[in-house]
């Protein structure tokens, strides 16, 4: 405790003139009410050192009465107002036998990391009331428990306070998660989005090299994407095939070309390899005897 380390001597141990001098200086320096309690928006974890002084110590007017020892009895802390969201009712849809998952702050941060970078950070130190058990079959949500008021006596030491926070991990209800995910971010914190790109034109794997190529010579590819082109048409990544395939590339005669123009899957004209599993070869492998 810082106060114990610094104030080894009580005020009554000091000589009276010196004490009076100090009190007079303090009265001049500090405006009236300057020793009041901190604003209500102060941190929730208040140590005993930061507690306001006793009102008796502020009275510096008139003849100086003998100083009494200051008792270190901290006043009760202001109540922490916690808004309790309504409990959520989860209806199982796919895996009814699956145990109810307890959603903690870590899970929320992990799942909503990408979507809610600007969302208010869940303060692990904040003492959130323990969420009620999520019941899958409860049609009506139970009444929310009353927020727990944290007495100042629980903060006798930093270790005790830490234990009190570690005891139960803060639980965030699913409604809060959805709220965080769909929360409208304050435009002040939003990066200016670049202007939307113009509508993308239908992709063609490779633009036609020459516009003079008749359209009916190009093999229609439909809405083939670039990855689809390289996996279906040019899966060898052949540099000679990095253009829109044409029927004339396959060396077809005019008669076949005329037929292929009506049927895009009709690709013939190349010499056919000999049949490997022909009748003679299969029968020669059979050991009848």
């Amino acid at each position: 405790m810082t106060s114990d380390a610094k104030n080894d001597r009580g005020p009554k141990d000091l000589p009276v003139p010196e004490t009076m001098r100090i009190a007079a200086l303090l009265a001049e320096l500090m405006p009236p009410g300057g020793f009041g309690p901190p604003a209500s928006s102060g941190p929730l974890s208040i140590l005993a050192d930061e507690l306001p002084l006793s009102p008796d110590a502020e009275s510096t007017e008139g003849p100086f009465p003998p100083l009494r020892p200051v008792e270190h009895v901290p006043p009760p802390l202001p109540e922490v107002k916690v808004t309790v969201p309504p409990p959520i009712t989860v209806t199982p849809t796919t895996t009814p036998s699956r145990p109810t998952r307890r959603i903690t702050a870590q899970v929320v941060q992990a799942s909503a990391h990408a979507a809610s970078k600007q969302a208010p950070k869940v303060d692990a130190v904040t003492e959130t009331p323990k969420a009620p058990e999520v019941k899958a079959d409860s049609a009506k949500p139970p009444a929310a428990p009353a927020p727990k008021t944290i007495p100042a006596t629980e903060f006798k030491s930093g270790v005790d306070a830490a234990k009190a926070h570690v005891a139960a991990p803060p639980t965030v209800l699913a409604s809060e998660i959805r709220k965080m995910r769909t929360q409208t971010i304050d435009p002040e914190f939003v990066k200016p989005t670049p202007p939307a790109p113009p509508p993308a034109k239908p992709r063609e794997p490779v633009p036609a090299a020459k516009p003079a190529v008749p359209a009916d010579d190009l093999i229609p590819l439909g809405d083939l994407s670039v990855s689809g082109f390289f996996s279906l048409v040019n899966w060898r990544n052949d540099k000679d095939q990095t253009r829109h395939p044409r029927r004339s590339d396959y060396g077809l005669d005019e008669q076949t070309l005329a037929l292929a123009r009506r049927n895009p899957f009709y690709v013939i004209g190349k010499p056919r390899r000999p049949e490997s599993q022909n009748v003679a070869s299969v029968l020669s492998e059979i050991a009848w005897e």
Binding site: L259, G269, P274, V279, A280, W288
Partner: protein, 252 residues
Amino acid sequence: MPLELTRTVEEAREHLSSHLRNETVDDARIREHVRIVAGPQPYDHCHFAADQFFQFDATSGAASNIHGQRLLRVTDNFLRSLSRALNDELGERAPETLYRIGRRWGDADVKAFVPRIEQEYGCAFDKLGMGAMLESWWWPLRASGWGVWRYDFSHSRNGLVLVELRDSAAAQAAGKTGKPACHLYAGLFAAVFGFLARRELVCAELECVAKGDSQCRFLVATQRRIEVAVSHRDAGATTDEIVRKISSLSQS
């Protein structure tokens, strides 16, 4: 119109030329590989619709398929009555008689099939793909209601060819008799594979729907292997066990 077993090879080829040939494209040559022709094809290969594959001559009251083979439309009762009549007349020799009928049928069928398929694809019979050739042979039978087959050459190094048959007309007609009923099929397979192997082969039915199996399975092999297989089958061994034992005997 002659009966199927009295048809000659020349008659089958004439029918093919008059019904399926495109004279402007076909050059009447037999090559070492299937010729790729652009545009109209020398022969029509695609005739899978029933009204294309079967014809009925009302004047003669005869039905035939697109290859000119004479057909006889019968019901299950006819096949069942044929089997029972043979059993009544011949007793224990009835299965063997059915096997011989199937064998004669297969001999005649494959002898007509070889020149037809060579002419249709313009390729020597030995150079045709084994799969295309066998499916071309079985397709008219499948279209006529003899079932769906699947051949298995995976044990050919041990001299065994397996054939699986589903929707057997003979087994369906016989019902659940507890005995193999597809002797006609066995003779058919023995004739065809014996013709291909140019040797005497025998076929035995190891599993049959009439026995309660899920499908009919046949084993085509030499006489010695088939005798071993039949003895194991009668002892209650499964097809896989029989194949395994014969394979071990062949390797030893």
